[in-house]
């Protein structure tokens, strides 16, 4: 092993004990990292990417079993190392780790100073020197007023600030390797961009190696030198970022890239990967992606697929690699046409939703007897949705979009302004009438369905509530609806916790559409789903929109999604709508600074490769 090699993992296996049997969370992991190099590990949920990092840091849950052919860091054999040594020399000192949830990763009862300096002090430095370094690093990570912040407690800082503190804390001991597990997933897009930029700068300055774990391909493209794609616990492809993302070989990598909604234009179908991630308990032999792959053959099911090397130390595990000349992956479910953009339908004069000068103010209080102060959640917002149109509302957290959504649904009353559905004021409608005009699809598939009711009842409930039909008719309608959203009939008896996230979201859509509303109000409906599933749902929504003649109001923070589905865009910030207009205009030639900032903050593959050219 040469002098510049920092980390070398060979054939790592991690098994977790579960009630259903041992779960193979990571299989055959191979990884090499040099000093100062940055590796991005990309995968959807269940891919094993976080487990690999946890295994490295000895943070696996009790009962987990780790086995490796080789696990070396800076010359140390990590597998054989006694825990006392690992804890004293490697953890936090040689290798530092930051996590996804900045809100809960800091101890709430101790000051920032204590948490930042404790390791240095424990290892022998004086309190004064440790404090000095902490101040320096807080400044380096651009936390304003560092001296004051040191005395603060975590709950007094925002999410973005907490993550900066975590980064600074990790750097206190000058680690050679920083592992960042989804460090920006829980943060707003603008903050995300800042944090990623910060990490890149710090890497350069400190000559630090980095492993960046994420599900977002675009993030990886911009921030790392090398990329590894994982699926179902196995690494499927690895190599320089530009090669893997610009010219991938493995069908799964291609599929992921095709799924990303930013590329396709409006009205184009995304090439979604059909099916869902397989069970990792007792995995089937052969390629783990096989069951979902259009190019799989009987050979692929035979045994472990060996690595095929590529130039620049890249490799992939596939018997039927897809070279660039091939067209986009022909997936099983996509028999329809592919990327031909249809001209947008002419917006009709028929206005389905009209919201004018909506203002909503909340009174909040600190504690029971504190003085109340006003918060303007929505400030003079106006918007319109015409028949057959899709309007996207874009904003970050705190922009007021969720409050606006509730008001537009009729679940909350504005303090000022009026909402009209089909020309009629919402305030004057009965709940039943309103239900026939607008229906929601929410973000979290795990909380939008009543866990105690079977799917059939959930979908039929709106009809049952309105006294519409007899039992036989209800059943018939429910089955028809389930079929339309792409769910098998037997699901009618299942309970939500037996379904995957994507399936649940389909149920939510079925429930929303069973009353044939005019407007579908979607509040981040795909944000909580894996990229491949997201593509399926977006396709579904588009199909249903055409079939049912729906208008859609789509709230999202994902610009890629906006590009795909929106006819018109409204940008929200601090409760105000700062810009509206046709999608093409707003996205290409924004007139407001904030919109420009948002657009430039979004990591995209195009940016990455343009920069490197």
């Amino acid at each position: 092993m040469d002098d510049t090699s920092l980390l070398h993992i060979d054939d790592l296996d991690v098994t977790l004990p579960t009630a259903a049997g041992p779960l193979r969370a990571v299989r055959g992991m191979n990884l090499s990292l040099r000093k100062g190099e940055a590796l991005g590990i990309v995968g959807e949920s269940g891919s094993g990417k976080s487990m690999t990092a946890l295994a490295l840091m000895r943070l696996l849950p009790p009962g987990a079993r780790l086995r490796a052919g080789a696990l070396r860091y800076a010359g140390h054999d990590l597998e054989a190392m006694p825990d006392a040594d690992f804890a004293a020399q490697i953890a936090g000192r040689g290798i530092a780790m930051i996590f996804q949830e900045p809100m809960t990763s800091l101890n709430p009862v101790y000051t920032i100073e204590r948490q930042m300096t404790e390791l240095m002090v424990r290892d022998g430095a004086s309190a004064a020197r440790a404090r000095e370094r902490a101040l320096y690093l807080l400044d380096r990570v651009k936390v304003p007023d560092p001296a004051h912040r040191l005395r603060s407690y975590p709950h007094q800082l925002s999410g973005g600030q907490r993550q900066r503190v975590m980064i600074a804390m990790a750097l206190m001991t000058e680690p050679q390797l920083l592992i960042a597990d989804e460090p920006t997933t829980a943060l707003d897009v603008t903050v995300q961009a800042q944090i990623l930029e910060l990490l890149a700068e710090l890497r350069q300055e400190f000559g630090m190696a980095m492993i960046l774990i994420t599900h977002d391909l675009a993030v990886v493209a911009n921030a790392v030198d090398r990329v590894m794609v994982m699926y179902g616990g196995q690494p499927l492809e690895s190599g320089p970022a530009r090669t893997v993302l610009g010219d991938p070989r493995h069908p799964y990598t291609r599929g992921l890239l095709e799924c990303a909604p930013g590329k396709a234009g409006r009205h184009a179908r995304l090439n979604a990967i059909p099916g869902i991630v397989p069970s990792l308990v007792d995995p089937l032999p052969g390629c783990v992606f096989g069951p979902r792959c259009a190019h799989a053959t009987a050979e692929c099911r035979n045994g472990d697929i060996a690595r095929t090397p590529r130039d620049a130390q890249g490799w992939f595990r596939c018997l039927h690699p897809q070279a660039a000349a091939q067209p986009a992956i022909a997936t099983r479910a996509n028999t329809a046409d592919t990327g031909v953009a249809q001209p947008p339908a002419r917006p009709s004069a028929d206005i389905v939703l009209s919201a004018t000068h909506i203002t909503r103010t909340f009174s909040q209080r600190k504690g029971i007897f504190g003085k109340p102060y006003q918060v303007r959640a929505v400030d003079d917002a106006s918007l319109q949705v015409a028949h057959g149109e899709t309007v996207a509302v874009v904003g970050e957290s705190g922009s007021g979009k969720s409050t606006l959504a509730r008001i537009l649904l009729g679940l909350d009353d504005p303090d000022q302004g009026e909402v009209r559905l089909d020309g009629r004021p919402v305030a004057g409608l009965s709940a039943a009438e309103r239900a026939r005009l607008v229906q929601p699809v929410f973000q979290d598939p795990y909380s939008s369905l009543n866990p105690r009711r079977p799917v059939g009842e959930i979908v039929a409930r709106p009809l049952a509530l309105h006294g519409e039909a007899g039992a036989a008719d209800l059943r018939r309608e429910t089955l028809r609806m389930l079929e339309r959203v792409g769910l098998p009939q037997r699901v009618i008896h299942s309970y939500p916790n037996q379904l995957s996230g994507g399936q649940r979201q389909r149920v939510a859509i079925a429930r929303a559409l069973i009353l044939r509303p005019r407007l579908l109000l979607c509040d981040e409906p795909t944000s909580a789903l894996d990229v491949s599933v997201q593509a399926q749902i977006l396709n579904l929504l588009q199909d249903l929109q055409e079939e049912f003649g729906l208008s859609m109001l789509f709230i999202t923070h994902d610009i890629g999604v906006v590009r795909k589905i929106a006819d018109r865009v409204a940008v929200m910030r601090d409760g105000r709508i700062v810009e509206t207009g046709p999608a093409g205009t707003v996205l290409e030639r924004p007139s407001h600074d904030y919109t420009a900032l948002l657009l430039s903050s979004v990591p995209t593959l195009a940016h990455a490769f343009a920069g490197a050219a």
């Binding site: 953890a91 936090g92 780790m97 709430p108 009862v109």
Partner: protein, 305 residues
């Protein structure tokens, strides 16, 4: 911090008022106090005389108002049954109950918390199951029965501890044991659950990632967080032990406030009973307030709002 304490104090006063009103209401409407004091077979004239003497014939709110005014000034009235001022009675009978309650709390702390901690550190192990088994059993034992069993044991078979009276501290051992074990299951479970949750938290994971292990991890990164809920529960438990001591005091013949209350009830002395219940409630409210303050001291999120 001061503002927080003042707010809490205000709330405590309101609760005390509500409690006093509720007690007054319940006890005086459920029966005729004059009749109760006079006895079942008393002549109507005697009953009427008592009624007038004690002021039971005045309108309800007026009675409550003057009672409250007196109570605030420290005048707790006079007991018909005991022929003594209630304040004197309380002063005489309070010390044994206080001693008993404190010792019982010590028993709870010394048994429940270590058990809970050990069980939390090794979930689903043999020790954990044993601890939970103890908790489940201890919860099911009627404490008066336990007291009687101990009386049998220690008076006949193993005469180490006295089973009656309250003259020496040894006299308090058995009653404190009984009174203390009744809270052990709840405190143990709370400690266990709280510590398990803390050990599984994200910030403990961060500490582990920094290389903290074992005792150091527990002491530096988990204990302070896990202690928070326990402290308030213990303070509240102490408050409840005052009122809950009646059984133990009866069995072990300790002349404390609980026994006093029981005898007053059996003697139909409603005004005294009312006063005593109110005093117990005040003790609890005070303990609750103390718990709130302690909580704020330990948890920056609470004291900063």
């Amino acid at each position: 911090m001061l503002r927080f304490a003042l707010k809490r104090l205000g709330l405590a006063v309101l609760v005390a008022l509500a409690v006093s009103f509720a007690t007054f209401l319940l006890l005086n409407l459920a029966t005729d106090p004059a009749q109760a004091i006079a006895g079942e077979n008393a002549e109507p004239e005697l009953v009427a005389q008592i009624r007038h003497e004690y002021g039971f014939d005045r309108p309800f709110m007026e009675r409550y108002g003057s009672w409250l005014a007196d109570a605030v000034r420290g005048d707790f009235g006079r007991s018909y049954y005991w022929h003594d001022s209630v304040s004197q009675l309380v002063l005489k009978h309070a010390p044994p109950t206080i001693r008993l309650a404190l010792m019982a709390l010590m028993v709870t702390v010394l048994v429940a918390i270590p058990l809970g901690v050990i069980a939390a550190l090794r979930p689903n192990s043999a020790v954990d199951r044993l601890a939970l088994g103890i908790a489940v059993s201890a919860q099911a034992i009627p404490n008066f029965w336990l007291g009687l069993m101990l009386v049998i044991l220690f008076s006949v078979m193993l005469p180490i501890f006295p089973v009656s009276g309250d003259t020496s501290w040894l006299h308090y051992v058995l009653p404190a044991l009984v009174l203390g074990t009744s809270s052990v299951p709840a405190v143990m479970r709370l400690t266990r659950a709280g510590l398990i949750e803390v050990m599984g938290s994200d910030y403990v994971r961060t500490a582990r990632a920094k290389g903290y292990r074992g005792i150091e991890l527990l002491a530096r990164h988990a204990l302070r967080n896990a202690i928070l809920p326990i402290v308030s529960v213990l303070a509240v438990q102490l408050g409840q032990k005052f009122g809950g001591s009646v059984i133990v005091e009866s069995i072990f013949a300790i002349n404390g406030l609980g026994r006093l209350t029981l005898q007053s009830i059996l003697g139909s002395d409603i005004p005294t009973v009312q006063m005593l219940i109110f005093i117990f409630a005040i003790v609890f409210i005070l303990m609750n307030f103390l718990a709130d303050v302690l909580n704020a001291l330990l948890d920056p999120r609470i004291r900063m709002g």
